[in-house]
Symmetry: C2
Subunit: 117 residues, 2 copies
DNA sequence: CGGGATCCGTCTTGATACTG
DNA sequence: CAGTATCAAGACGGATCCCG
């Protein structure tokens, strides 16, 4: 997402797409906490702001990692859901979480089974 | 590194430490390409600039993910090496690289065995 | 020459207020 | 509720300088 000078390195390219401060947290919210709506993401303790959230949701949609659907035909409520491609990031988030649990004190899994397969 | 409002989430905390545009690339250079000197990091195709590199090296030292030693007693040449804690990030970089290889076209491992255990 | 530090202009990010 | 507009703060890129 950040337009590094491109190299073919898969690590650099992946970080280029999702390696910023917020993107993976949005995916975490969807993947481990089942969040699907704009407001739910805003409630996370890290405190993403509305414009950043809107921007990241759009980027994730462009990357086809998430899909947006109207919640019903009556309201403006939107539903964001991970695509299969998005779900494929689970091992990435999982290993990041495992590292944090081991090397950063006072971290803990917030919800039972959050880091389960 | 970026002072998110703290949550105990291990994913958020880990991203807080190394989840920026450059930090993991420096670690990649050390881990997979064996780079150890300031100038070597500068040569990577992503093109980090000197002030950013100096900043990240210092942050990584503060986090005890790398160690800095004088190359010899005669010169100013410095040697940066991963600590055990730093090396523990290998699974993280590896899974990120594997994801990139699978989901981003035109990425490839740049050096034989780069993603090996 | 290698390893930075510093300054400065630009681009990106983010907090807040506001809108449909 | 789900965003957009605005504007300030911060991150970054590049040049330059500095020091051993």
């Amino acid at each position: 997402m950040n337009q590094l000078k491109r190299s073919p390195c898969p690590i650099a390219c992946t970080l280029d797409l999702v390696g910023d401060r917020w993107t993976l947290l949005v995916i975490r919210d969807m993947m481990f906490f089942g969040k699907q709506r704009f407001e739910e993401f805003l409630e996370s303790p890290e405190g993403i702001s509305t414009n950043i959230l809107a921007n990241r949701l759009k980027l994730l949609e462009d990357l086809e990692l998430i899909e947006k659907q109207p919640y019903s035909n009556h309201s403006r409520r939107m539903n964001y859901q991970l695509t299969e491609k998005g779900k494929s990031l689970r091992p990435v988030l999982k290993v990041i979480g495992i590292w944090g649990l081991k090397y950063i004190t006072d971290t803990k899994v917030l919800k039972t089974n959050s880091l389960d397969a």
